[in-house]
Amino acid sequence: MVSKNREVLYGLYNDEEELLDAIKVANKDHLDIMDVFTPFPVHGLDPLLDLKESRLHQAGFVYGAMGTLTAFLFMSWVFTRDWPVIFGGKPYWSVPAFIPITFELTVLFCAIGMVVTFYVVCGLGPGVTSPYLDPRITDDKFCIAFQTNDNSTSEIDNLRNFFSKTGASEVNTKVI
């Protein structure tokens, strides 16, 4: 995590189409966007920001496979070695009866594993406070933020020009 406070210049947009157009302009002008905040996932945003595909789902596959193996091997061990019981005249190792539980544990391991991984990767946990730029970006505003710690006045003016040119409804600064 960044230790020093960040000076941020951000602009708010009213519509996701305006946001996408603004990002295209920023990319053309080689402006270094710190981050973009939207109240909901916006289609086509990831490729514009050149974000890499998340590897969370690969972790999810591994957790799921672990769940499958855990459930199946555990039940196999219990019903053949540890405590063999005959249910309804079926053999000890009754694979069809194991399938629903194997399925459930696959889903459970996968879901819990992915949630925990997501929290760890994002640095979230109990007691962590998250600095925010503006509460309205969780409601109806779309935000582009630039970090301006090392920027000269002319560079900051250039950024402000960019915001007015692309139709931002508000431009603010904040230290977070």
Binding site: G44, E53, H57, F61, G89, K90, P96, A97, I99
Partner: protein, 462 residues
């Protein structure tokens, strides 16, 4: 390129495929059967039923899918909906095929259905009288088989023609702020949904499930419909990607393919869910008259049984799990071909074991039964699977009892595994299907230019 041309080369290819099919059917008619069943033409009739049901089902699901999407205000599929319309029109051919088969059933030209044998309903016929089939005779009788097939398929054909007519009419009549035709399409689609849901179950019961005439499963209709569903999606991908490679449907992007790929993935899992639920409930309850169905398949048709699961679940599940495999032509075509053949195989395994069993029973009664001439005081007990074995026991004195017991266990091409003649028949039906679909694509613009959802579909983004 909105206007499709059905090239001469495609025409020749499809006619060639149809010829292969005809040659295969003729060959199976004259020499397909194992020696002792010669004269019953069981392999021919079961292949005809298998492929007619499979391809009619694909066109039915295309019609159902169109209605469901229209009713749900879905827009993403609009750029490619002409393909599904063309598929759904194959119901006209399906009507002829299944109509012919139903007439054959009514005339008694084949022995696929145990309930269709003379004497099973006659209490005076000690040898053949069958209480269970008497109980089912209100539904399983040759009159309803013929009538039901004609009425229900006829209704489907009417809806297919009506929806297609409206949709093509919209190309000239519709336009901005003129939604009358679209309201009309929506109305007809909504009506078709409940009709399709109930009537498809009835047809699957009488066409396929009644082959194992003592057996029943409440999940069977869903399971077979899911099989049709996946085959239809695989067929859509194959046709769509082929047509894209020829330069048509340039507005169909990887986004649309991604969605069809997701459908293919999801419905393969849905099919597996139904397959497994049907299997596990029967395995767990272990009621003799139900278990015999899977007992036969697991023990005597293991390749069919386990192969079915690998091809239709494991492969599509693992291959289509990744995001990018649903967006590339190569992987999509690969999975589509596998899954298409897999569900054809699935219908094979639904039909053939029961058919072979019934053929042997008919053969016993009509072929050699009379020769022995001894009284068969078979007890018509309620659990008839007992009775299947009781048959053999009753014939025990006759020397072919052991023989009859062994037949099913033998490796019989065309019954325990699809042979070249089965593949040839399938290729013939595929050729017929594609010929018909392409000629229908030829008859209207490939893009429904005035569909109100067209813009949404062009800008579709997953």
């Amino acid at each position: 390129m909105n206007d499709f041309t059905f090239t001469g080369r495609e025409r020749t290819t499809f006619i060639g495929m149809i010829l292969v099919g005809i040659i295969s059917l003729v060959a199976t008619y004259f020499m397909g059967d194992p020696m002792e069943l010669h004269g019953q033409h069981t392999r021919f009739w079961s292949n005809l039923l298998h492929n007619s049901v499979f391809f009619t089902g694909i066109s039915f699901i295309a019609l159902f899918m169109l209605s469901a999407f229209t009713t749900a205000y879905a827009g993403w599929h609009t750029v490619m909906k002409r393909i599904w319309e063309a598929f759904s029109l194959f119901l006209v051919v399906g009507f002829c095929l299944m109509g012919f088969f139903a007439i054959a059933t009514w005339m008694g030209w084949h022995d696929l259905y145990h309930w269709n044998m003379d004497g099973v309903l006659d209490p005076n016929n000690k040898e053949l009288y069958d209480e269970i089939l008497v109980g089912k005779s209100a539904f399983l009788n040759k009159n309803w088989y013929l009538l039901g097939t004609i009425i229900i398929l006829g209704i489907w054909v009417l809806f297919a023609l009506k929806l297609r007519g409206l949709s093509v009419g919209e190309d000239t009549k519709g336009g901005k702020n003129q939604f009358e035709t679209h309201y009309s399409i929506r109305w007809w689609s909504a009506i078709f949904m409940p009709i399709a849901a109930f009537s498809s179950a009835a047809l699957i019961w009488q066409w396929v499930m009644s082959i194992d005439s003592h057996w029943y499963s409440t999940m069977f209709a869903w399971y077979a419909t899911a099989s049709w569903f996946v085959s239809m999606l695989a067929m859509t991908l194959m046709v769509l990607i082929y047509l894209k490679s020829r330069g048509y449907f340039e507005k169909v992007t990887p986004e649309h393919l991604h969605d069809i790929g997701k459908y293919l993935f999801a419905f393969s899992i849905f099919w597996t869910y139904l397959w497994f639920s049907q299997y596990m409930l029967i395995w767990y309850a272990n009621v003799g008259e139900e278990t015999i169905y899977f007992h036969t398949r697991v023990n005597e048709y293991p390749v069919l049984f386990y192969g079915n699961l690998v091809v239709n679940f494991v492969l599509p599940f693992l291959i289509l799990m990744r995001n990018d495999t649903k967006r590339k032509y190569g992987t999509l075509i690969f999975v589509s071909v596998i899954v298409f053949l897999g569900h054809w195989w699935d219908f094979f395994s639904m039909i053939k074991p029961g058919v072979l069993h019934t053929a042997h029973e008919v053969h016993e009664h009509h072929g050699h039964g009379a020769d022995h001439g001894h009284a068969h005081d078979k007890v018509s007990d309620a659990v008839h699977h007992g009775a299947d074995h009781a048959h053999e026991a009753a014939h025990g004195a006759g020397d072919h009892a052991a023989e009859a017991g062994h037949h099913a266990a033998e490796f019989l091409t065309g019954f325990t595994i699809p042979g070249f003649l089965e593949l040839g028949t399938m290729i013939g039906f595929l050729g017929l299907f594609l010929f018909f679909v392409f000629s229908r694509l030829n008859s209207a613009s490939l893009e429904p230019v005035n569909d109100p959802f067209l813009e949404e579909s062009i800008h579709h983004h997953t």
